[in-house]
Symmetry: C2
Subunit: 144 residues, 2 copies
């Protein structure tokens, strides 16, 4: 009978590591801005692309459309983004960050980049093969 040790089982380990990393990343922006992960993803996507529809944000950040919808609603209430009706397709809303939203974005990005840098530095020479493996995994699972 094959043995299985949960603590060495890949899906389990990946989940633990992913949530530990996310949890720790919270400490990067948490103290200054109170953000959920979905909100952060919307902010990051809009910071990156200037303007985008909710649909496109969902595609780019791998979020269900209801999750995007709610994150957008909350960010709008906080005046970090605004919406305007698309002219070509009036079902669509074009979303952009407000000046305040961009300010927060510019505040967080360098911290996020440094956070990632710190982790990769701790992996040392192991970082490159690790990132390669992640890429390979992304390929594998996007094909399914």
């Amino acid at each position: 009978m094959a043995k299985l040790q949960l603590e060495h089982f890949l899906p389990y380990r990946l989940n633990r590591i992913a949530s530990a990393v996310s949890q720790d990343f919270r400490s990067v922006y948490g103290p200054h801005h109170d953000l959920t992960i979905p909100e952060w993803r919307v902010l990051a996507t809009l910071g990156q692309f200037e303007e985008m529809s909710a649909k496109a944000i969902g595609r780019h950040s791998a979020m269900h459309k209801t999750k995007v919808s709610r994150a957008v609603r909350d960010l709008e209430e906080r005046r970090w983004l605004k919406r305007r009706e698309s002219e070509e397709d009036r079902r669509e809303e074009i979303l952009t960050l407000t000046e305040l939203g961009r300010k927060v974005y510019r505040d967080i990005v360098p911290k996020a980049v440094a956070f990632e840098r710190r982790i990769l530095d701790e992996l040392g020479p192991g970082a490159k093969p690790f990132l390669d493996a992640l890429e390979r995994l992304e390929e594998i699972f996007s094909a399914r």
Copy 2:
């Protein structure tokens, strides 16, 4: 201004990969047994250790005690495990799998091992450094 591309950002990638792997792992046992992740973790832990308290299961499988409590309740209803009061400490309950529970466990384990094997094989020579990096990350984040 440092740039940030969400799709290449480590916490984001780890979360995506972890949930894709878990999702895909569901397809291993899903068709035969309907199990949630917490239930699977309890089953796997008890399969591994024969008998254990809920507290110990939580520690070993990194789950909050309320999550363990509910998973145990559900598995008990399904007659996959049973509880008995500890004799040394009557606050504690000693949990063990029933024969039915062990049957399910023995059915799933080889599939789980094969599932993991398949992923690592797809990583080829990159598998070893990848696993090393995971171990390193576990160290880093358990220290925090």
